[in-house]
């Protein structure tokens, strides 16, 4: 059998004819701040987004993709996502400048609020997807100087995909005015605590913090010497938190969290199966520069007022799609049996080729294969019966509502 040619994310199935087709793995990889910690926990490290990253941890210590997946759905998994790009955009005009590039409302985003957004090219193609937080600091009043408390310089914290961060930085530098400052916070690590017990565990370590946040809210928190940015969000469909921490402290923080009975480390493998179940697209697979947000079923990221006002890169292309509809649409597919359809598998309606799988695998939670892909809009209705070709077999598949596994975000009241 052959598994050593395989980079995670690229299909492993290869005749000799395909075995060179893993070209998206750079030759050299960098190490993450938690590299030694991962290895000490028996992680199997693979190259991903230019870094050596843990795909899964040692079986003897409760690891393995399915075990880590199930643990995260039931308890809390701790993921190292320090490969992601953490950026800061500051300046009086920061919101207006970002609104030239992002299709979402940024100016009306209140301090401490988070929004999912996209970087688009002129044709409406998706350059990356990202999370943007209004991180504008509150400046306490000073009675002696008789100043009142007020908001400081507008500040936006932006988290982008690891594999895209250098391109994103170049794009932002090219298009943002010189009046705003873009900082790449490359001294920061990022970890994600995800699962129904994440709040319990975090609340024991940092008392009160979970109570102050609901889904898509973010706060600064001084934990002893460690200045943390804690955001209630994630990429698993579960309640959870992403914690930005100076790289020098991340190992201590990871140990502190993993000391809680509910928390175990979880790798890239589980992250991928969790996000697929949650119906969340993965950039470079489900989203690319050839796909626009309407086709990708991400119109929620195009804030209504901004669809009308325009003024953002890619607006006219997206407006056409919004008005006229699009040829294809991102859908979920549920397969019968146990054989998964992977990225690249062709989708058929009868004998007609109607689409393509962009990510797929076996759902540990549901116990059957699931996939995400693009199919012609005529065949994209929920419940439409299609087939997917895997190794010359046509597997029955049905268009399914996303997410496959319901989200369990903590939205407060």
């Amino acid at each position: 059998m052959d598994f050593d040619c395989a980079a995670f994310g690229a299909t492993m199935l290869a005749g000799p004819d395909m075995s060179d087709d893993t070209g998206d793995t750079p030759e050299t990889t960098e190490t993450l701040p938690l590299d030694a910690w991962h290895r000490q926990k028996g992680a199997r490290m693979v190259p991903f987004a230019g870094y050596d990253m843990p795909i899964q941890y040692n079986k003897d210590q409760g690891g393995g993709i399915v075990a880590e997946h199930d643990w995260t759905r039931d308890q809390a998994g701790l993921f190292d996502v320090s490969h992601m790009g953490q950026l800061m955009v500051t300046g009086e005009n920061a919101a207006a400048e970002l609104e030239k590039l992002l299709p979402g409302a940024i100016a009306s985003l209140k301090p401490g609020r988070v929004r999912y957004s996209l970087l688009l090219n002129d044709e409406g193609g998706i350059l990356d997807d990202l999370m943007v937080t209004n991180a504008t600091p509150w400046i306490e009043g000073d009675e002696e100087a008789s100043t009142e408390g007020h908001w400081g310089e507008p500040t936006y914290y932006v988290v982008v995909n690891g594999a895209m961060k250098w391109d994103d930085i170049a794009h932002l530098r090219e298009h943002l005015s010189d009046e705003v400052t873009l900082t790449h916070m490359d001294e920061q690590a990022l970890i994600a605590l995800q699962g129904p017990k994440a709040a319990t565990a975090l609340g024991r370590v940092m008392r009160g913090v979970p109570d102050d946040l609901v889904f898509m809210q973010s706060t600064l928190y001084q934990f002893g010497e460690w200045p943390l940015r804690i955001t209630r969000a994630g990429y698993t469909g579960e309640d959870g938190f992403e914690i930005s921490v100076p790289a020098e402290f991340v190992e201590s923080l990871a140990n502190r969290l993993c000391a809680e009975i509910e928390v175990r480390p979880a790798g890239l493998g589980a992250r991928d199966s969790l996000r697929l179940e949650a119906g969340l697209p993965l950039y470079g697979h489900d989203l690319t520069a050839e796909i626009d947000p309407v086709t990708a079923d991400l119109t929620f990221a195009l804030t209504k007022t901004r669809r009308e006002s325009g003024g953002w890169m890619g607006h006219s292309a997206c407006a056409v799609k919004l008005a006229d509809g699009c040829a294809d649409r991102r859908v979920g597919l549920v397969l019968e049996g146990r054989l998964p359809a992977r990225e690249g598998a062709i989708v058929y309606h009868g004998e007609d080729q109607v689409g393509r799988v962009t990510s797929g695998g076996f759902s540990p939670t549901l116990g059957h294969p699931i996939a995400m892909g693009y199919v012609m809009s005529d065949h994209a209705g929920e419940g439409t019966e299609l087939t997917v070709e895997v190794r010359n077999k046509r597997l029955p598949a049905k268009v399914a509502k996303l997410p496959f596994v319901p989200h369990r975000y903590h939205r407060g009241n």
Partner: protein, 123 residues
């Protein structure tokens, strides 16, 4: 009965003219949780070094090659019901298929257990 190993992490038990094929413990460990195994049909001809089966783990699909040439006489039906047998007992109950050996000379060059172990230690 003698057991041989390939550099592609298959094992083969030889008993007279028939043989049983599976993947090694090292292989299942590398693959992780196995969710589906596609086995050859009875009567299929498999050729040494060519695709004979496919293992689907949560992560990906991987080919399994035939260690030697022959005709498949039986596939392990238990793997249809419980593919995780390959994880729990890869070198016993998790066998893949049996075949009649076309040419015993092809066994030359396969590794014995000690040689395979040192091969894995070097990976």
């Amino acid at each position: 009965m003698a057991r041989y190993f390939t550099e592609e992490h298959e094992w083969i038990d030889v008993d007279g003219d028939t043989a049983t094929v599976g993947i090694t413990d090292y292989a299942q460990e590398q693959l992780g949780d196995i969710v589906f195994v596609e086995l050859p049909d009875t009567g299929a001809q498999v050729a040494k070094g060519k695709d004979a089966a496919v293992v689907e783990s949560v992560k990906a699909a991987s080919d399994v090659y035939a260690p030697i040439t022959g005709e498949v006489t039986e596939a392990n039906q238990a793997l249809d019901e419980d593919p995780a047998l390959v994880n729990s007992s890869p070198e016993t109950d998790g066998w893949f298929f049996k075949l009649t050996i076309a040419d015993k000379g092809e066994l030359d060059g396969l590794m014995d257990e000690a040689a395979y172990k040192s091969f894995c230690d070097g990976l």
